[in-house]
């Protein structure tokens, strides 16, 4: 009995080995298939099952008392989402936050990358210093931001007082929104610098020389030579940041938690509040699916861009 038990896996392993290259005995799954199987299986459990659950939740009222129970409510949650001005206000804020962070990060990141690309000596240490914020946990970025702009003892608040602004940065709707935007900019501009710099170093120096010989000024060179040749890479940076901008909301959670007066309540925060404070899980699922749709649309663009690049080379 024990002999057959140990034999079976060994025989299967032999089949797997043989199936990889020998076309005559080709199995349906094959060597590469077996290599992917554990990841696909585990990820199916962690991604497909939750997705199905999320869809089911969006058509139900979910009760948590005494186990988990779903009560079918049809399209109620979806109808409610369409007519919920608070939710649409959150989407508006999300778009504002999205455009604000991404716009500043792209512009600033490109500018810094251009500056650094001229540095010849000590670029390594310089890059390390510039990249540091990227590794900081977003929740710590938020807490650190709070410490820096605290009206009584914050370092940045102290500077601002010097310039005549003495208010509580996170207490005012406008400045609070600005502050959380700038915290995100602080953390993620370095990523844009890193990506843009990789693009800039790949620009052919002889093209730049030719432009200089033709008498192109630095602005004209930037606009007509450098930017077009790194536009693909900048688009990659933009798409990656867009998807992450929908993903992360830690900074806002730990600084303003959506306030003051809902001024920073972007969609993921509303989802958390709906799902885990009011335990209205069905409605939260609708919000989640809306967010997922946005991400998938951006991911499609990203993959298409990636495949286009592969086709060119």
């Amino acid at each position: 009995m024990s002999a057959t038990r140990t034999d079976a896996p060994a025989k299967r392993a032999a089949v797997v080995r043989a199936s990889g290259g020998n076309p005559r005995r080709k199995e349906r799954i094959g060597f590469t298939g077996w290599l992917m199987a554990p990841s696909v299986g585990l990820l199916g459990l962690l991604s497909i099952v939750p997705l199905v659950a999320l869809i089911a939740m969006s058509f139900s009222r979910v009760r948590l008392l005494g186990g988990v129970r779903f009560e079918w409510v049809g399209l109620d949650n979806w109808a409610r989402a369409l007519g919920d001005p608070e939710l649409w206000k959150s989407w508006g804020l999300t778009i504002g936050y999205f455009l604000g962070t991404l716009g500043v990060e792209m512009a600033l990141g490109l500018a810094i990358a251009l500056l650094i690309s001229r540095v010849t000596r000590g670029r390594g240490p310089l890059m390390v210093l510039v990249l540091l914020p990227m590794f900081v946990a977003p929740s710590i970025v938020g807490l650190l931001g709070r410490y820096l702009v605290d009206p009584t003892f914050g370092l940045y608040a102290w500077f601002l007082r010097g310039f005549g602004f003495g208010g509580d940065v996170l207490g005012n709707p406008t400045t609070a929104f600005l502050a959380v935007t700038l915290m995100d900019v602080w953390e993620w501009t370095p990523l844009i610098v890193l990506i843009a710099l990789a693009g800039l170093t790949s620009v052919n120096p002889s093209v730049l020389e030719a432009a200089a010989l033709d008498g192109a000024g630095s602005w004209a060179t930037l606009r007509h030579v450098i930017l077009p040749s790194i536009s693909g890479i900048l688009l990659v940076a933009l798409l990656i940041r867009s998807m992450d901008a929908v993903r992360y909301f830690d900074i806002i959670t730990v600084t303003t938690n959506g306030g003051p007066a809902d001024a920073t309540k972007i969609v993921p925060l509303r989802l958390f509040e709906t799902g885990f404070r009011f335990f209205d899980l069905g409605y939260a699922a609708v919000i989640g699916l809306m967010m997922l749709a946005v991400t998938i649309a951006v991911a499609r663009l990203f993959v298409r861009l990636l495949n286009g690049k592969a086709a060119q080379s």
């Binding site: 992917m36 990841s39 210093l129 977003p138 807490l143 410490y147 990523l191 969609v267 991400t295």
Partner: protein, 276 residues
């Protein structure tokens, strides 16, 4: 290309400003962690002071000992990083070399899973984990982190393996190697840098997580970022301790990130951009 002196001075000044912008908050946090309570919340910033270890000592002694949080963070981050890297290396190699029909859809599934909004994922995951009894356990937290680290590892390792010419493995096969040996002895050693980068980035993503931990973890599994936010209370914030926790959270990730700096572009752009 020589630029005029004035322009170069301006450029240097701008770079200095950039470095100040990125570094000052971190230096200030580091300094704060070595200050006394009075100094850390002094209305006029204290720039010169006698450093004290008081905050760190208080973190690891007394009622609210940080050690369990630290342990949870290490186990959850390392656990998910190791599992993601091992499975992701196998899966990524498979994805890179497979000629199956649904390859494009499969890779799209991986990347969209990686990028799925955490808020949307944690909602059903919370219900599933409740049913399975995984809420407030470290295996639950590791699984939750695998939901983004595993697709990341598969995708990025597949990008790294794409950089290894398949002809090398083919000649190994001709020389009599099994597919597994061709993978293990030829392709894998050539992708060591990619493997390390993947492991480090998975570690950083999991270690830095806050959103999953606030929902999935509980008293038995809380991590450092949660411990940090819990110091923020209605009655006030112990900024001395908070800056100390911040330093403990941030420092190891900075060191790890710098160690894989050369491959960072590839890793952070999911293989869309390759560095020098």
């Amino acid at each position: 290309m020589k630029s005029p002196l004035a322009l170069r001075v301006l450029g240097t000044a701008a770079l200095a400003a950039v470095v100040l912008w990125t570094v000052v908050p971190l230096i200030w946090m580091l300094m704060g962690s070595f200050k006394s309570t009075a100094q850390v919340t002094s209305p006029d910033p204290v720039f010169f002071f006698l450093p004290t270890l008081e905050n760190y000592v208080r973190l690891f002694t007394g009622a609210n000992n940080l050690s369990p949080y630290l342990l949870h963070s290490v186990v959850a981050a390392v656990g998910s990083s190791v599992i993601a890297t091992v499975l992701g290396t196998l899966g990524g190699y498979g994805l890179s070399r497979t000629k199956m029909k649904g390859k494009a859809s499969l890779s799209f599934w991986f990347i969209s899973t990686r990028m799925a909004p955490i808020a949307a994922v944690v909602l059903p995951l919370f219900l599933m984990f409740r049913l399975a009894g995984l809420v407030d356990t470290l295996p639950g937290l590791i699984l939750a982190y695998l939901s983004f680290n595993l697709p990341f590892a598969v995708w990025i390792m597949s990008a790294f393996f794409d950089g290894v010419p398949p002809s090398l493995e083919e000649s190994a096969r001709v020389a009599g190697c099994t597919p597994w040996q061709a993978f293990w002895h030829v392709a894998l050693p050539l992708s060591k840098a990619g493997l390390v980068t993947t492991a480090v980035l998975c570690l950083v993503f999991a270690w830095n997580d806050y959103a999953f931990a606030t929902i999935i973890s509980g008293p038995n599994s809380q991590t450092l970022p949660i411990a940090a936010t819990q110091l923020v209370t209605q009655t006030g914030v112990d900024w001395g301790q908070l800056t100390a926790i911040g330093t403990i959270v941030v420092l190891p990730m900075i060191l790890a990130g710098i160690a894989v700096r050369r491959w960072l572009v590839t890793g952070m752009t999911l293989g869309a951009v390759t560095g020098e």
